[in-house]
């Protein structure tokens, strides 16, 4: 575990000490090295489930795919930010990269934490670098509002979580993941128990986000620079999902009744946010709402707590992370050329940028869950287990799949097909850097078709 964490921490001094000429090369190559070393976590032969243990950090089949995704994302973020940061003073470039690296450190510590309070502190610690990335390097005036919404929505949910965890620690004496599944359930008065249940889950539901508390997400995703959008969409939302998976173990048996409103809200959110996507004019907002839609499905899957649902949720989290991040990178290629996120201003790009159109095609197909991509595997498993839980959910999930296909196709047709608008006479051709970036996003997604056991979680 430390083999990856310590090099990540030491990336910070190397960012500050590298000469200006080699800054981006160095950070990119070292973070790629760390990312390839992190693939060792995927080999988890241990029978107890936990591997690469020390007292404070461990990895198990649920956290491993998320850890590898986190480590994989840092070189991608460095690659994506290179262009828009080139004009800034060198120290600010170094500060930006340091923020990305510190995010990776906190995320590694969060996903590999073996104790709930450590997980909580790292969960909260990811807020500060993300806040600074969004509000300092975002491009529009609304970014201040976005940062405030982001911080306060998450904190309003996580402070009750802290109190719930402290309550749990008082009654059970420990909060270690190793022993929590075997503890007797803490019962108090029915009302207090319900409050405690809600307090435990609320922070993660807001982070996922659940449909009713999702307002921070379109703001934050849209106003963030590309690296901020990537890390938000790919990993930070999954922190909520991972937290829910870990904490639901101790929340039985109340979950059977109390999770109803949240499952309904999540499924309804799939449809609502999908419908909003169909009417969006802002490309990044479309991708942001699509994230809410997919995460609604994940939330519903996690809340019904069956093995297939957990597996489907985990697969969808990883697949959605890669897909959403790829879509944000593609939106960023549009933004860097036209400095606008409005979709109708950049139509018909297949004529001008045919190679990028290939990436748009693959990313769109991944977003609408085309077989045999892992997106479909995740969605199908969640839909099947939801059907098993209650057959009426099929209406909502089926409609959701239809709307997802609708808006993904809308996004693709709007940006790629049709006539070029008259004001676009030439755009810069795609850089090799952008092609590399999208390859590194979509190649793991395609390779995961061949070995999905890596992201199956406990059902391996």
């Amino acid at each position: 575990m430390l083999k990856i964490l310590i090099p990540s921490i030491l990336l910070l001094p190397s960012t500050w000490l590298t000469p200006q000429k080699y800054l981006w090369t160095t950070t990119l190559s070292y973070s790629l090295l760390i990312a390839s070393a992190s693939l060792m976590w995927l080999a988890t032969p241990s029978e107890t489930g936990w591997s690469f243990l020390n007292c404070l950090m461990a990895s198990d089949p649920i956290s491993t795919p998320l850890l590898v995704l986190t480590c994989w994302l840092l070189p991608l973020m460095v690659l994506a930010s290179q262009n828009h940061l080139m004009l800034e003073p060198i120290n600010r470039q170094r500060t930006f990269i340091s923020l990305l690296i510190s995010l990776q450190i906190f995320l590694i510590l969060a996903f590999s934490a073996t104790e709930l309070i450590m997980f909580y502190i790292m969960f909260e610690a990811t807020l500060i670098p993300t806040l600074i990335i969004i509000t300092r390097w975002g491009n529009q005036m609304e970014r201040l509002n976005a940062g405030t919404y982001f911080l306060f929505y998450t904190l309003a949910g996580s402070l009750p979580l802290l109190i719930a965890l402290l309550l749990l620690q008082n009654s059970t004496g420990t909060l270690s993941f190793f022993t929590i599944p075997y503890l007797p359930s803490t019962c108090s008065t029915p009302w207090a128990h319900k409050m405690w249940w809600t307090a435990c889950l609320l922070a993660f539901l807001i982070k996922m986000p659940l449909y009713g508390a999702h307002l921070w997400l379109p703001k934050a995703h849209v106003e963030a620079p590309i690296a901020g959008s990537m890390i938000l969409a790919a990993v930070l939302l999954k922190l909520g999902g991972y937290g829910m998976m870990r904490i639901l173990i101790i929340l039985d048996p109340l979950t059977k009744e109390l999770s109803y409103p949240f499952i309904i809200l999540a499924l309804w959110g799939v449809i609502m946010t999908g419908s909003i996507c169909l009417r969006q004019t802002d490309l990044k907002a479309l991708i942001a709402y699509s994230s809410v839609s997919h995460m609604g499905l994940v939330a519903a899957g996690i809340l019904i707590q069956t093995p297939w649902a957990f597996t489907g949720a985990l697969i969808l989290m990883i697949a959605h992370g890669l897909t959403s991040s790829a879509l944000f990178c593609l939106a960023n290629t549009n933004y860097e050329r036209t400095h606008s996120r409005t979709m109708i201003l950049a139509r018909g790009l297949q004529t001008l940028l045919p190679l990028t159109a290939v990436w748009w095609f693959i990313a769109t197909l991944a977003n609408l869950a085309l077989p045999p991509l892992p997106n479909l595997m995740g969605e199908l498993m969640i839909i099947t287990s939801l059907f098993n839980w209650s057959m009426w959910t099929l209406i909502l999930t089926g409609l959701g799949t239809l709307i997802t296909a609708g808006y993904s196709l809308y996004m693709f047709l709007m940006t790629q097909h049709g006539q070029l608008p008259h004001h676009l006479i030439s755009l810069n051709p795609p850089h090799s850097r952008e092609h590399l970036l999208l390859t590194l996003h979509l190649m793991p997604l395609l390779l995961l078709i061949l070995k999905p056991e890596l992201i199956w979680g406990w059902n391996a």
Binding site: F106, I121, A125, L159, P160, I163, N170
Partner: protein, 348 residues
């Protein structure tokens, strides 16, 4: 100010607090507090501008009222119990009166109205002394009276956290914001004082570290208004990184050190089965986080080349010794992993 007079006043400040710390008799405790008040009055008025004199007068009236009430309560206690020990206050009347008098001394809600006005009229150094040193003696006395009924502390504490957060919402003057932040943090201290005095000690030590670094950052750039914060990037660029972190630490965000007292206090409150209170206190501290965040927006997050929000002032060389600032800033940002070590030092 002449060096001799200045040093006499500073020594008297120290003498006053030390006398209160060393006392077991009500007269001596009250005398120490009076010496403190009298020593800081000339320090507050050293500027000779009307605003400073107004602040000094307000402070004097409030503190005189509080001291008189304190003396009255001490004498009543002596009358009722027959002895002058400050630790023996079995009667609710006297202990409540003492608590309220001392609450007025340090500026807890609902006796807090003087705090922002007084702080606004002072220069930053005197404001620092007011919000850190002047709180020590009264807090010590509140601990010493050993109340058996924690209700008044909980009420004072929760009200202070809410008022300290809500009151600072539309302030643009930095000293008033710091006054409200002081009220909120004192609320946390009072909240936990009856359950675990060592945690109150931890809170005030961490609070002194954080406030010291924040005041020192403002002293270094001589800013007293939100608008003048926005040119910090031109004067001392490193402050644009450290000050937002200090502000977020004051707001209690992990992984910064300001989270430590809140975490420990919430843990103690949940151990005492006061979960709704803990939830209310935690969520009320989000109010103060809002205006700390606004300060960091003004200072760092709207830095050029994005949105310059203020006009450029004269840039003079910083004359202060920056070593205390460096030390306190480092502890404010990095002290959270030391929590087990610090908790083991606390006497339980």
């Amino acid at each position: 100010m002449a060096p001799l007079i200045y040093s006499a006043l500073i020594i008297s400040l120290g003498l006053g607090t030390t006398m209160t710390f060393a006392s077991t008799h009500w007269y001596l405790a009250w005398m120490g507090i009076e010496i403190n008040t009298l020593a800081i009055i000339p320090l507050m008025a050293q500027n000779h501008i009307p605003r400073a004199i107004e602040a000094t007068t307000k402070y004097f009236f409030v503190q005189a009222t509080a001291s008189a009430t304190l003396l009255f309560a001490g004498i009543s206690n002596a009358f009722l119990t027959g002895q002058w020990d400050i630790t023996y206050t079995p009667y609710t009347l006297t202990s409540t009166l003492i608590t309220l008098a001392l609450a007025m001394k340090i500026g807890l809600a609902p006796l807090h109205s003087w705090m922002p006005e007084v702080m606004q009229g002072l220069n930053l150094l005197t404001g620092l002394i007011l919000s850190t040193w002047q709180k020590l003696a009264p807090l010590y006395l509140i601990y010493q009276i050993q109340p058996n009924n924690p209700n008044i502390f909980i009420a004072l504490g929760l009200m202070s956290i809410i008022v300290g957060g809500w009151g600072g919402f539309n302030q643009v003057q930095l000293r008033k914001i710091l006054a409200y932040s002081s009220i909120a943090h004192l609320g946390w201290m009072i909240l936990i004082l009856s359950f675990s005095p060592p945690l109150a000690l931890l809170t005030i030590i961490i609070y002194i570290l954080m406030t010291f670094s924040l005041f020192s950052s403002f002293m270094l750039t001589r800013t007293t208004h939100i608008n003048s914060l926005s040119t910090t990037w031109a004067k001392i660029p490193i402050l644009t990184i450290s000050t937002p972190l200090i502000l977020l630490s004051l707001g209690g965000l992990p992984p910064l050190a300001g989270f430590m007292p809140k975490w420990m206090i919430l843990q103690e409150l949940t151990k005492q089965s006061l979960c709704p209170l803990a939830t209310m206190a935690a969520l009320s501290s989000l109010f103060s986080l809002y205006f700390y965040l606004r300060l960091s927006y003004a200072m760092t997050l709207t830095m050029p080349p994005n949105n310059p929000a203020g006009t450029l002032p004269w840039r003079l060389n910083p004359q202060h010794n920056t070593l205390p600032l460096a030390l306190t800033t480092t502890s404010t940002i990095c002290l959270l992993p030391m929590t087990p070590a610090i908790m083991s030092l606390m006497p339980f």
